[in-house]
Symmetry: C2
Subunit: 454 residues, 2 copies
């Protein structure tokens, strides 16, 4: 009896045109948006249906190959970097919006649907799907589910988990699960954010909101980053719930200006970008209140003109692409700390980066305490490479010691996984291992991501 190899077996399921085994082509599936992490997958197969996914998962299990799903591969935590020899299931062809019920404000999408395309589609019907990760132009809803993605809107509107009403999931054994709230709510809460390690999501039903009718953009400049960050809890304590509240430091503005000048106040140490939304009356009233907070603070905070605010908001989405103007490579961190600890956390990170003479750009969704310190380095300079790696540890520890968490929205992936063992006590680590084992006893699903090592 001739036993076919995994690629031939995959071709029997999805067709030869949808299986990749060529080494050069496979190479492009070996990385994601995280620099410095690579793997060598053995087979890539593109699924077009849920049945494809189930058959491919069973095939990978039979072949004893680590198996992971791939969408936009925009992970910044190496969540979609395949282990060597992995079986990759490409979900980009499963991108349909299957149902959109405008009256009920619900939609059902396939995991490969691109986040921005979906958000634009529902916006055309006066609806809002809030999760807006900065990678939304390429990221997929399935990936957002895997990482429980947030974005600037998360503070006011919530993260992906808050909008997922139902899921279809292929388990480690190829079984298909149909999960819907409220009945299977606790299971859905466990799956969302599990980074493809408990199963592969094949369909997502989401809740939508009515889009707010009015919005206004504001920008507040501060003499230094500490003043900007200390202002954040005061804005929230004043009763404001901004749709977005973004922090940018001087180096981030410098990078943006070098990429495309928009007059960002790079000489200022810290910038807060604020978006207010709601009814026209609410937006007007909140805008007034925002001004009052700044006045009552008696600080060097300064309100920019509406025109400036609009321009600077446009710049905001370009941060990740522009950081290369400072150094060719970066490690983008993603921590979340209590709002009142933002200023001290940033001060600590700057002190440690300064001691290593490493440029670190810091920005983030300040209202909910999410910070993205980006260690910028030149791969050709050994000292910088070492310093950047060291800073990864410094940043993780600073989050934990501030009472925060290792990841705000990117997930743990392979980048943060080594820190999981220090973030939890032994009984909790055991409970985590037991949960992973309950869903994936052989450990084939996205092996090496997220869960603490045994």
């Amino acid at each position: 009896m001739i036993r076919e190899d995994p690629a031939a077996r995959a071709a029997a399921i999805v067709g030869h045109a949808h299986v990749i085994t060529d080494a050069d082509a496979l190479w492009t599936y070996g990385y994601d948006a995280t620099m410095g992490y690579r793997g060598r997958p053995a087979v890539v197969a593109a699924a077009h249906t849920e049945a494809d996914v189930a058959a491919l998962v069973r095939l990978a299990a039979e072949e004893r190959m680590p198996c992971l799903a791939r969408g936009g591969a925009t992970s910044l935590a190496a969540g979609t970097v395949p282990p060597d020899g992995a079986f990759v299931i490409d979900l980009n062809a499963m991108r349909a919006v299957r149902r959109l019920d405008v009256a009920k404000r619900r939609a059902t999408v396939e995991p490969g649907a691109v986040t921005r395309e979906f958000r634009t589609l529902v916006a055309a019907h006066g609806l809002l799907y809030p999760p807006d990760p900065s990678s939304e132009a390429a990221a997929t809803i399935g990936g957002n589910v895997a990482t429980n993605a947030g974005g600037p809107s998360a503070f006011k509107y919530g993260v992906t988990r808050d909008f997922v009403r139902g899921l279809r999931l292929v388990g480690a054994d190829g079984e298909i699960h149909a999960l819907a709230r409220p009945r299977e709510g606790p299971l859905i809460d466990l799956i969302v954010g599990s980074e493809g390690t408990l199963g592969i999501v094949t369909e997502i039903e989401v809740d939508l909101l009515e889009a707010p009718v009015a919005r206004s953009l504001h920008a507040l400049t501060y003499a230094d980053d500490q003043a900007a960050l200390e202002s954040v809890p005061r804005i929230i304590e004043a009763g404001l719930i901004p749709a977005k509240l973004e922090y940018l430091d001087g180096l981030t503005m410098e990078a943006l200006e070098r990429a495309r000048p928009r007059g960002l106040p790079r000489e200022a140490g810290g910038l807060l970008l604020v978006e207010l939304d709601g009814t026209s009356e609410e937006v007007r009233r909140d805008g007034e209140r925002l001004r009052q907070v700044l006045v009552s603070e008696d600080r060097e905070g300064r309100v920019a003109s509406a025109g400036q605010a609009g321009l600077w908001w446009q710049a905001r989405t370009g941060i990740t692409a522009s950081l290369g103007r400072i150094r060719p490579a970066k490690i983008g961190e993603d921590i979340c700390v209590p709002r009142t600890r933002l200023a001290t956390t940033v001060r600590h990170i700057r002190r440690e980066a300064g001691a290593r003479h490493l440029p670190v750009a810091i920005f983030g969704h300040a209202a909910d305490g999410t910070l993205h310190p980006n260690m910028l380095y030149d791969p050709a300079v050994a000292r910088e490479v070492v310093a950047a790696r060291e800073m990864l540890q410094v940043v993780a520890e600073s989050a934990l010691s501030a009472g925060g968490v290792l990841s705000g929205e990117h997930g743990l992936g392979r980048v943060k996984r080594p820190f999981v063992a220090t973030a939890y006590d032994a009984p909790t680590l055991n409970a985590m291992r037991r949960i992973k084992h309950a869903f994936d006893p052989a450990g084939w699903l996205n092996t090496g991501a997220m869960w603490p090592q045994a």
Copy 2:
């Protein structure tokens, strides 16, 4: 070598005075507030510290005895009815409020703290702990965590899970887990509502709210129960978020009047009791809006006087105690359906009860779709006993077919467990079994409650 029996070993841990083995005394630990369910525990030991609980759990595991914790034992789903031969850990002595931080609005309590006593304590500091199950005078915070208890306030303020920030837990192996949000949030979400089947909670940290400054009570009477229930979604769609919105049917009012006359409109088929809270201005505005909903409906709804509303609200908490005025025994159900399906669900239950000539009193927290159909029967009348049991199934099925869930707030316990297998598909049932197995491989923790049978 003489091997001591479990009771002697328990006495070595907690002292002889805190171990019960006398058959008559054990009998009182054989039941909870659910009629018709009894067990015969072998040993009851009162724990005074977390170390006691851990040692007792290890002891029960070594003795291969089913083990369950007991607080107020107010379960209406037989969640605290011990299996025969069980080892019961009485937590009523662990009732301290360990910390109350008024400025931070946080408190840390032991599981045996009585819910009403705790709520009264924090209210004296101008704070609100919203979960308010009707059994709060005897129920404990630990029991509320076990069932993820709600109450009339759940619609506006949320259920127990929404207020639990941290937990300490003794696992099936006697290991102690310290869990805190945000880091262990997903584990906390899994433990809350797990009915003591994944571990025994020994300390709970909760969030508190500022108490609203103003409140007002309202009562709306309707010609029949359908009109009352159809009014519920319209009140919510009008943008009102009442602090409480309770539904009482005619038979419930009849029982209350027989127990203590307060002039409840028992001739009316349906009554809605509404509590509004907030600032004085919000309460005034919402009261006006409530009136407008009723007017615009052009129905037989009638607004009672403020005096009547206050009296009727007092009556509300006495329902469970007064149902005995109709029949000596009852099975109290607890389902939750979409708000728009309240009227049809109640109509179906009434039709089935009518066909069996069985009195069924229905009331509940209408705003969030929670209904408590109570099958009232005489244990001496075989026909009624059979009919009540049949109706248990009818009610469970009516909830599922309306897209609802088997339990709104009481938990599944032993009463609803037989229906779990019909409520979920095979892959979901398998996932549930795997989760239970991951935490309690031997299956000793509250054996027989909640989880689907193997």
